[in-house]
Symmetry: C2
Subunit: 243 residues, 2 copies
């Protein structure tokens, strides 16, 4: 104790402990994206390490996308950048080439339930909140989503006022529950539409369906959300980068 790092593993190198400490502060919302975090020289003094060590810690967080350097201005917390990832699934323009309007979300259900097998396994608990959403582009329904989040991390989610919800959930997870989604794994597969989903998507039963299962993880790599999204296979397209 008394080393300024807080509850980090003393066996770790100084830069790793500082990185974890900074991560915790970012996750707690201690710094906001519009203000620079303390300068490297300041952090070096505060934590009693050299500037080089601060740089190495900050480098790691910049690499993870949590921080952003602006030469001459300072280092800033990056606003969660998951904004554009959900509608990667579908064409961004109409068939006539005109750009689509902004996607919208309609929440159909929020309830505390016992999770089915798949989300329970992914999340490591069956004590969850279930969310059902319809997502639309230009008034046209394109995605039907079932989302499961652990009550342990999202206590009170089901009673949030409707006005708290925008089109995206991840910013809300962060602002209301301090849960920062850092990475996710997607699995794309093929199925045919059930009567219930066909009706929601305004397609025919047994029409071809694209299905995306996603597990999302927080900055500590703990699973915080499992979702399954279905949309018509026609016009569906999923982009991904391989390194």
């Amino acid at each position: 104790m008394g080393d300024g790092f807080g509850a980090t593993d003393v066996r770790l190198p100084a830069y790793a402990r500082l990185r974890d400490t900074l991560t915790a502060r970012i996750a707690q919302g201690q710094w906001t994206p519009d203000q620079p975090i303390p300068s490297e020289a300041r952090l070096a003094r505060d934590f009693d390490v050299s500037v080089g060590t601060v740089r190495k810690a900050v480098d790691g967080l910049v690499g993870e996308g949590l921080l952003e350097r602006r030469q001459g201005s300072g280092t800033f917390v990056r606003a969660p950048s998951f904004n554009a990832t959900l509608f990667r699934f579908f064409p961004m323009r109409e068939s006539d080439g005109s750009p689509l309007s902004i996607p919208s979300s309609q929440m159909l259900l929020r309830a505390v339930v016992t999770a089915p097998a798949e989300p329970a396994e992914a999340l490591g608990t069956d004590d969850v909140i279930k969310i059902i959403r319809m997502r639309s582009l230009s008034e046209h329904p394109v995605l039907f989503e079932e989302i499961y989040i652990p009550t342990s991390r999202f206590s009170g989610f089901e009673t949030l006022p409707d006005t708290a919800f925008g089109p995206l959930l991840y910013p809300l997870y962060f602002e209301h529950f301090g849960v920062l989604v850092k990475r996710a794994t997607d699995e794309v597969s093929f199925a045919t539409a059930s009567d219930r989903i066909a009706e929601r998507l305004r397609i025919q039963p047994n029409d071809p369906l694209a299905v995306i299962r996603r597990t999302a993880f927080d900055i500590e790599d703990k699973p915080v959300e499992w979702r399954i999204a279905s949309g018509s296979a026609h016009g569906f397209r999923y982009r991904s980068e391989i390194h």
Copy 2:
């Protein structure tokens, strides 16, 4: 000139120039994965920079996956790690749970052609070699592939002896043409099988088809391959990581 860096932009920082020089040597196959590259201290002497600068250059290449550090042993060129990425598309086990045998490839065509619109646009040229392959698991055909590579990078590919080909193309690209695939973008969509493809895949015409379009890039981020792969949508599953 005379600074030991070769033809790198003198306006770049020293670590970036060193990184580019090392990249070129790796791409030329000057170092092999079984031998360590020169030590950091040695590189610092050779290029007349400090060890810290060498570390920053090497850090970048380790981050890109081109190099690998082994404490106490040295820093090594990483063997291209695309080996496992191609058959991510399909289940790795039979429906009874038993693991599948090793995937195999059958080359059906190699020819110099004028590229169709899609590959021509992706590659920036219509002067290409076309390859058609069938890929199978346990004697069962699962993927039909059309591949286009620019003749400018793969001169003589169409006349390579059949014995030069293993199940994977990327190692061959590297060994015979010095082309190292570093990243790729995939696009997954769904379609229905044409008569020709249905016959190859032993499914019915108009059966649902999963289609993956891939553009692969080398270490200098130039497109070096475009391919379109089709397989039955049933049992198809595509995994991807989002960061």
